[in-house]
Symmetry: C2
DNA sequence: GCGTACAAAACTGTATACAATTTTCCTGGA
DNA sequence: TCCAGGAAAATTGTATACAGTTTTGTACGC
């Protein structure tokens, strides 16, 4: 079999990415429970590809922390990484550092670009607040808006290396962020406030304050999430 | 051929790591010049293994930034990543953020552990100073001591996530750090000073100052390196 | 002499065969 | 009933064949 499903491998070299995204989506949304064993041949069979591209995808997922290799003396047995309180706390503080550095750069942007950015952030935060006030909160929308807010100033101000680092680390927080909005969608007012503080610091071209505001935002989010996460993640269903 | 050279693949599953370390060493030390094309079959032939483990090693190197895929419409042609001034500046500032966070944690360590750490750092920095004062500077030794200094407080204070992030990012700086000590081995006094400042902050349990001291150390190193790096890296010989 | 076109070589992507090891499960005995 | 032993199944690691694409080299025409 040279190419069982051309629709899946249309672009030659895209197959590992397809596998990667498929698996990542399952993990991030909790449909592949933490602790689950992942078997190369199973994935390969389900996606109608050989084990070779699956291996590439698994390696990437492992490098990014979505799956861990449960040691077995010789062979590596990939399993979905668990969700723990400690992991969330540490990951959020790391994201805070990275995005804090980006916010520092954003505060040193030329006036025109900075003001444009401030307008964008203000708009996104307003939509975020509206979404969080909805009687029936749309978790996907809330997640997307929060994500957009942070990504915006990173994209506008960070250099390629920092952006690469952000791209490498931030997606790992998605599992916890989705957990956050689904568990705390009733009390997102503090987030809105903290976003405003970030905007204000960038608007007044105050790098130190901006960096600190971002770090505080993530530290607080981690604290809030930490109070409700215990043992929720391990169950793999939410 | 099942296993051409058992000495290279003794531990079953270790082959990709052997290939990885071999290639990484060549890249980091500049023997594989920036811009060089890397050919799977060549590496496989030279190390007497098949392309499969080579592929794994290349994927990892690509993920870690040592090699980039020079796009060619369809196929990915792996080439050794270039050394540029901008890359060094950004990379060092990122390392500063990560290690700064670790230093912050180190400053909050229990007294006993903190004092033990301070003693270790003081000793390493003393040896670093002696090495830097030598009439004929041993670049490898200087690099090792500087590396040790920073790794020590990260190992002692950082959580698993931060350490994983550090492990992922820091090695990429090795290329530039070696360049640094080889180009600036005559003027390492500022580094010694900055290390002392870091130690003092940790000793007095002052997280903010410790974090800032680490960031300053890396920012200054980047600035010093930036002044001499231009166009040196691209040539691939030093 | 230079450029273009065509052929050949090189190289990567994918699939698959095979080996080695680990896990599972069944059977027999205490 | 429970535990031990062992065989079979499962799973990963490695090698290699094959296909498709890109690059290279050469020869021919201008």
């Amino acid at each position: 079999m040279k190419n069982a499903d051309p629709a899946l491998a249309s672009a030659r070299g895209a197959t590992p990415m397809v596998v990667y995204h498929a698996l990542r989506a399952l993990i991030v949304r909790g449909q592949l429970a933490p602790g689950s064993r992942i078997v190369e041949t199973e994935v390969a069979a389900r996606l109608r590809v050989s084990r070779t591209p699956v291996r590439g995808a698994l390696q990437r997922l492992a490098h990014e922390g979505y799956i861990v290799d449960s040691v077995s003396l010789q062979q590596s047995r990939p399993t979905v990484a668990p969700l723990t309180r400690e992991d969330a706390l540490e990951l959020f503080s790391i994201v805070g550092e990275i995005e804090g550095l980006a916010a520092r750069s954003a505060s040193s942007l030329p006036v025109a670009q900075r003001e444009a950015l401030v307008r964008e952030l203000t708009s996104i935060n307003a939509r975020f607040e509206r979404a969080s006030r909805a009687r029936v909160p749309k978790h996907d929308l809330i997640y997307e808006l929060d994500e957009q807010f942070h990504r915006r100033y990173v994209e506008r101000a960070a250099g390629p290396r920092l952006r690469a680092l952000h791209d490498a680390v931030k997606p790992q927080a998605e599992r916890y962020e989705r957990l956050y909005v689904s568990l705390l969608s009733r009390d997102l007012a503090p987030s809105v406030q903290e976003h405003s503080a970030i905007i204000a610091a960038i608007a007044s071209a105050d790098p130190d304050t901006a960096q600190r505001a971002v770090q505080v935002n993530w530290r607080n989010a981690a604290a809030r999430l930490g109070q409700v996460i215990t043992n929720v993640g391990e169950r793999g269903q939410w």
